[in-house]
C-alpha cells in the first residue's frame, strides 16, 4: 500500500473513527466535570441545609465536607480515566493511522 496523503487520510474510516471516539470521550468527560462542579455550586446556592446535615448522628462532620473533597478527588479520577482510555485505545489508533500515512 502506498503512503496516503492528508486528503486521503481525512476520508479514511480509521481516522474518522478515531476523531469520533476522541470527540465523544472529551465531550462526555467535560460534561461530567461541569455537572460535578456546578452541581456542587448549585447545592451551595439552593440547598445549604442539606450540606449542613451531619454525616451520622453524633458526628460533627457535615455532609458538605466529604462532598467538597469528593469533587476534588473525582476531578482527578476523571483525568485518570482519560489517560487510561487514551493510553489504551487512542494511542494505538493514532499509531495505525500514522503508519498508513508513512508506509
Amino acid at each position: 500500500m502506498s503512503p496516503k496523503t492528508v486528503h486521503q487520510i481525512l476520508d479514511d474510516p480509521d481516522f474518522l473513527e478515531l476523531v469520533r471516539k476522541k470527540d465523544r470521550i472529551s465531550a462526555i468527560l467535560t460534561a461530567l466535570e461541569l455537572v460535578l462542579y456546578f452541581g456542587f455550586i448549585a447545592l451551595i446556592a439552593y440547598n445549604k441545609a442539606y450540606l449542613a446535615e451531619k454525616i451520622s448522628a453524633g458526628s460533627s462532620i457535615t455532609i458538605g465536607i466529604p462532598i467538597a473533597v469528593g469533587v476534588i478527588v473525582l476531578s482527578w479520577i476523571l483525568t485518570g480515566v482519560y489517560v487510561f482510555w487514551a493510553n489504551g485505545k487512542y494511542d494505538p489508533m493514532v499509531k495505525a493511522v500514522k503508519e498508513k500515512m508513512e508506509r
Binding site: T62, W76, T79, Y82, V94
Partner: protein, 613 residues
C-alpha cells in the same frame, strides 16, 4: 483551654534566612547549569521539549500553587471554615478541562505559545497581535497581584522593607529566566513544588498528630470551639448567578493561562502532555486538601483571635500553626518555602510575558514570522525578559499598599474570556475566521475589564477604599459585640486570656513594626471590650455599634454592576461575537487548512514542536 503561643513571626529568623539562602544558591546553580544547555530559541522557550510528563506535572503544579493560594486559602479556612473549602475546590476544577479540551491539540498545533494555535490557519498578524495582548494582560494582572503580595508577605515574615523585597524578587527572577530560560524555570518550579508539598505534608502530619490522626476528632474540636456553623456553608455564596459566573472564570480561566499553556511545549509529545495534566491535577488536589486541613488546624490549635492579631486577613495562619507545632526552625523553613514559591511563580509569568512579546509580537507580527536566524529570536526574547522583569518590579512598587485582591480574579476572567474561547473555536470549528478570532479576543478582554471595574471589587473596594474599610470595621465591631451577647460571662473570661497572651507577645523586644501595630490594636480592642463587659454598659454599646454599622453601610455607593465576577457575560460575549462575525463572511483559506489542521490535531503528524528537530 487552648494554648496561647508566644510568637516570633515578624522577627528576623536566622533559620528562615538560612533556608532562603540555600534555596537561592541551589536555584542559581541550576540556572548556571541550564544556561549552558540553553543555546537556541526552542531551548529558551520550551526547554527543548525534553521534560518528562511527570516532571512537567510537578512544574505545572508549581506554576499554579502560589504563595497567595497556600497562605490565602489556609487563612480563609481558618477564619471562615467551610466557606474556605468551597473556595479551594474552584481552583482545581479547571484542570480536567485543560486535559479534555486543550492540552493535546495545543501540543500538536503550536510551537511555543497559545497564539501559535489560534493563528494556525488564520492571518497571523492580526490574530497574533490580539492573542499577545490577551496573554500580556493576563500575565501582568496576575504578576501585579503576586508582586504586591510578595512584598507585603516578605515584609511580614522577614522584616525586610517592601521596596527591597520587590527588587530582590525582580532581580532573582530575571536571572533565572534570562540565563536559564525554560529549563531553569522548570527546575525552579519542580524544586519549589516539592518543597511546598513536602512542607505542607509535614505540617498536616503534625496537625493530625495533635488529634490522634483522626479527622473526626479534629472537626469535633472545631465545632466545640466555633459552633457547628464553622463546618456549614455560610455567606460566601449568596447569589447563585454570581457563584456560577465565578465558577466559569476559574474553570475556563485555567485553560487560558499563558504560563500554564506554555508548559505543554516542554514535553516531547501529546501523550506526555496529557500525562503531565494527570500528575498536576493530583498534586494540586492533594495540595488543596492539605491546605484546608492546615486552615482548620490553625483555627483550632492557634485560634482565630491570635491569627487575626498578626494579620487581619488570616494570611499568617499556616505560619502561626507551623510555629506552634514545629517551633522556630519549622517556621523558618516554611517562610522560606513561601518566599521560594513567589519567586517560582513570578519566573513562570515572566517567561510567558516575554514569549508573548518576542515570539508573538516581534517574530510573528513585526517580522511576519521570518527572522534571520534563531539567534535573532533569542536576542529579542532575552531583551523582552529583562523588560518584563523590570515591569514586574515597577508594578510591585507602583501598587504598594493598593488593594490588588481583584487582580487575580481579573486575570482569570481575561484568560477565560479573551484567550480560551478563541483557542477552543480555532481548534474545533471549521468556519472560524480571522475576523471572528480577533473580534472575539478583543470583546472578551474589553467586557471582562470593563465589568470588573464596574463591579463591587473595584468600584467599591478600590475606588471607595476608605468608606469600604470604615464599613468593614463597623460591621466587624458589631459582629464582635453581638457575639458576646450569647454568653457574656464566658466571653469575658476568653477575652481576659487573650489579652494576657497578647501582652506576653508584645514584650518580645525585636518585633517588627507592622506585627507590633496589629497586636497593639488587638490588645486595645480586647481591653476596651473587657471594660464594656465589666462596666455594665454592654447593651448601650451594642445598640451604638448597630447604628454605626447601618450608617457606614449607607456611606458606600453601590457598584453599577452588582456581580463580583463577570465571567458569564464576558465569556458569553466572546463566544457570541466570535461565532457571529465568523458566520458573516467565510474565509476559504482557513476552511481549507482546517483539514490538514485536523490530522495534526488528532494524530500529531507534522507537529513541529520543539522536540521534533
Amino acid at each position: 483551654m487552648q494554648a496561647q503561643p508566644q510568637s516570633i513571626i515578624g522577627t528576623l529568623s536566622p533559620m528562615a534566612i538560612f533556608f532562603f539562602l540555600a534555596f537561592v544558591a541551589v536555584t542559581l546553580g541550576i540556572t548556571y547549569w541550564a544556561a549552558k544547555k540553553t543555546k537556541n530559541a526552542a531551548q529558551f522557550y520550551a526547554a527543548g521539549g525534553g521534560i518528562t510528563g511527570f516532571q512537567n506535572g510537578l512544574a505545572l503544579a508549581g506554576d499554579y500553587m502560589s504563595a497567595a493560594s497556600f497562605l490565602g486559602i489556609a487563612g480563609l479556612v481558618s477564619l471562615k471554615g467551610y466557606d474556605g473549602l468551597i473556595y479551594s475546590v474552584g481552583w482545581l476544577v479547571g484542570w480536567p478541562i485543560v486535559m479534555f479540551l486543550i492540552s493535546e491539540p495545543l501540543r500538536n498545533l503550536g510551537k511555543y505559545t497559545l497564539s501559535d494555535v489560534v493563528a494556525f490557519r488564520l492571518h497571523p498578524q492580526p490574530v497574533k497581535t490580539a492573542a499577545a495582548v490577551g496573554s500580556l494582560v493576563t500575565v501582568l494582572f496576575y504578576m501585579t497581584a503576586q508582586m504586591v503580595g510578595a512584598g507585603t508577605l516578605i515584609q511580614l515574615m522577614f522584616n525586610l522593607p517592601y521596596e527591597s523585597a520587590i527588587i530582590l524578587v525582580g532581580i532573582l527572577i530575571i536571572c533565572y529566566v534570562l540565563f536559564g530560560g525554560m529549563l531553569a524555570t522548570t527546575w525552579v518550579q519542580i524544586i519549589k513544588a516539592c518543597l511546598l508539598l513536602g512542607g505542607a505534608t509535614i505540617l498536616v502530619f503534625l496537625t493530625l498528630k495533635s488529634f490522634n490522626f483522626s479527622y473526626p476528632q479534629m472537626f469535633s474540636e472545631a465545632v466545640r470551639l466555633y459552633t457547628p456553623k464553622f463546618l456549614e456553608p455560610g455567606g460566601l455564596i449568596t447569589k447563585p448567578l454570581d457563584a456560577f459566573s465565578l465558577g466559569l472564570a476559574l474553570m475556563f480561566g485555567t485553560a487560558g493561562l499563558p504560563h500554564v499553556l506554555m508548559r505543554f511545549y516542554t514535553v516531547p509529545n501529546a501523550k506526555e502532555a496529557r500525562k503531565s495534566v494527570f500528575y498536576a491535577t493530583g498534586f494540586i488536589g492533594y495540595f488543596y486538601i492539605l491546605t484546608v486541613t492546615i486552615g482548620f488546624g490553625a483555627a483550632i490549635l492557634v485560634g482565630k483571635t491570635f491569627i487575626t492579631s498578626i494579620d487581619a486577613g488570616g494570611n499568617m495562619s499556616a505560619l502561626a500553626l507551623a510555629e506552634h507545632l514545629g517551633g522556630g526552625p519549622f517556621l523558618g523553613f516554611l517562610a522560606a518555602v513561601a518566599f521560594a514559591t513567589i519567586l517560582a511563580v513570578v519566573a513562570g509569568l515572566t517567561l510567558a510575558g516575554a514569549s508573548a512579546v518576542s515570539h508573538d509580537l516581534y517574530v510573528g507580527v513585526f517580522r511576519h514570522g521570518k527572522v534571520k536566524n534563531d539567534q535573532e529570536e533569542m536576542k529579542v526574547a532575552k531583551i523582552s525578559t529583562v523588560g518584563i522583569g523590570v515591569i514586574a518590579i515597577l508594578l510591585g512598587l507602583l501598587f504598594k499598599k493598593q488593594n490588588v485582591a481583584f487582580m487575580v480574579g481579573l486575570a482569570f476572567a481575561v484568560a477565560a474570556s479573551a484567550n480560551f474561547p478563541a483557542l477552543l473555536m480555532s481548534i474545533k470549528w471549521k468556519r472560524f475566521t480571522t475576523a471572528g478570532a480577533v473580534s472575539s479576543m478583543y470583546t472578551g478582554l474589553a467586557v471582562a475589564v470593563v465589568l470588573i471595574v464596574l463591579s463591587p471589587t473595584v468600584w467599591e473596594d478600590v475606588f471607595q477604599d476608605s468608606s469600604v474599610k470604615a464599613r468593614a470595621a463597623a460591621v466587624a465591631t458589631f459582629t464582635r459585640l453581638d457575639g458576646y451577647s450569647k454568653d457574656t460571662a464566658k466571653s469575658l473570661a476568653t477575652l481576659q486570656t487573650q489579652v494576657a497572651a497578647l501582652q506576653v507577645d508584645l514584650a518580645i523586644p525585636d518585633l517588627n513594626a507592622k506585627v507590633k501595630a496589629n497586636k497593639t490594636k488587638a490588645l486595645a480592642t480586647g481591653q476596651a471590650d473587657i471594660a464594656v463587659l465589666q462596666g455594665g454598659t454592654f447593651p448601650t454599646a451594642l445598640a451604638a455599634a448597630k447604628a454605626a454599622k447601618d450608617q457606614a453601610v449607607a456611606q458606600v455607593n453601590k457598584a453599577p454592576f452588582p456581580m463580583k465576577s463577570p465571567g458569564i457575560f464576558s465569556m458569553g460575549a466572546a463566544f457570541l461575537v466570535g461565532i457571529l462575525v465568523s458566520l458573516l463572511k467565510r474565509e476559504e483559506s482557513a476552511e481549507e487548512m482546517f483539514e490538514s489542521e485536523k490530522v495534526r490535531t488528532y494524530v500529531g503528524v507534522g507537529a513541529e514542536g520543539s522536540a521534533s528537530h
